[in-house]
């Protein structure tokens, strides 16, 4: 039997299988991040080859038979995330990248394809401790990045050539920018020889991705109520209700300096982010 242990914040999963392609699938998506979050739940998943396919069991319960190992791997991956999110359902989920720099934690909030992953990948190679590119969980003013490999597009590799040079096997011709078709590459910072540590804590600076343009990146102060509106548009309420959602978002905005980031070229974006992080702290 082949076995893997995977931590996704509060959940630790033990996956065993007799199908090597399933393990290959999991190895391609599991995050190597060292996580401070305590493990509160443990689950066992098993994939067994049978005459008619690949049977998936979760904590002893049958989850069905998949026709091929790719489908079985995808089902296991989906269940890992469902269980991990379910274990922290009382937290607000925000579409945001999360990183620290010189001990100051910041979020980059923006809708899909606004440039979050590209910016976070650039910051990663520039020495920032990037903890996640897409999703953070928030409660009582504290955030933790959801451990997921960075979902970069080939187009990002062209914009951040340092990554392409370090992981040439990910490189290739850029995909077309058609809305329906592009490939997501699951990048683990360890593939770049970089540490990946996911902590948690209050947020010092919030960046709301405003729009993209061709010139240098600009950061301008963002009124609190605009930031609240922007974050709420990019977040999902916790299981505890929508009042808690509003409270969570207001709490994190109140404690942080907020900037609208009009994303232009990436070198000036790095400078703009550093400049904002070096500005005097905002008292909660």
């Amino acid at each position: 039997m082949l076995e893997r242990s995977i931590q996704l914040l509060a959940c630790e999963f033990h996956v065993s299988t007799d199908a090597e392609p399933v393990v290959r699938w999991l190895d391609g998506v599991r995050p190597s991040a060292v996580q401070d979050h305590p493990v509160l739940h443990r689950h066992r998943l098993e994939v067994r080859r049978e005459a008619d396919g690949y049977r998936v069991r979760e904590d002893g319960q049958d989850r069905g038979v998949m026709a091929d190992p790719g489908e079985a791997g995808a089902l296991v991956e989906r269940r890992l995330h469902e269980l991990a999110f379910g274990a922290l359902a009382e937290r607000t989920k925000i579409h945001a990248g999360c990183a620290t720099w010189k001990g100051r934690r910041f979020l980059v909030v923006g809708q899909g394809r606004a440039g979050k992953t590209t910016l976070m990948t650039k910051l990663l190679v520039e020495g920032f401790s990037v903890e996640g590119d897409e999703m953070v969980l928030l409660r009582d003013g504290r955030v933790v990045a959801y451990p997921r490999r960075f979902g970069i597009r080939r187009r990002t590799l062209a914009l951040v050539p340092e990554v392409g040079a370090l992981v040439p096997h990910l490189s290739g011709p850029p995909d077309s920018d058609e809305p329906d078709g592009y490939q997501i590459l699951a990048l683990d910072p360890s593939q770049l020889g970089l540490p990946w540590h996911i902590g948690s804590g209050p947020v010092d600076v919030l960046f709301l991705l405003d729009r993209r343009h061709q010139g240098p990146t600009r950061a301008t102060a963002c009124p609190d109520h605009v930031m609240v509106q922007g974050i709420m548009a990019q977040s999902n309420p916790p299981s505890t209700g929508r009042a808690a959602w509003v409270r969570d978002v207001c709490t994190v905005v109140r404690g942080a300096a907020g900037y609208l980031l009009t994303l232009g070229d990436l070198d000036t974006a790095v400078s703009a982010v550093r400049q904002c992080l070096e500005a005097p702290a905002v008292n909660a």
């Binding site: 609190d224 109520h225 609240v228 929508r242 009042a243 207001c250 905005v253 109140r254």
Partner: protein, 87 residues
């Protein structure tokens, strides 16, 4: 709004303070409102005991204003009523 009416904020409002105003969550209708500082002052006076035409005078006293902000308060009360935050 009738000046002799004492407006009262509806029940179930959760007020979240920000640097530039307040975010109000209205549970009954699942709505989020943004109010600036002035609007919140007026909302706080809507406790069912203060008549609408007394609010400008109270604000004048509280903030040492040259004139009671009668027109501004009337407009604010109209907006709060339109938004369903007072009755």
């Amino acid at each position: 709004m009738d000046g002799s009416h004492a407006p009262k904020q509806i029940e179930g409002l959760e007020v979240n303070k920000l640097a530039d105003g307040y975010i109000i969550y209205e549970a009954n209708r699942d709505r989020v409102h943004y109010l600036n500082h002035t609007a919140v002052l007026v909302l706080e006076m809507c406790n069912g005991n203060v008549k609408a035409d007394e609010i400008p005078r109270l604000l004048k006293q509280a903030y040492d204003l040259a004139e009671p902000p009668t027109a501004e308060v009337a407009e604010c009360l109209d907006k709060l009523r339109d938004e369903g935050l007072i009755r």
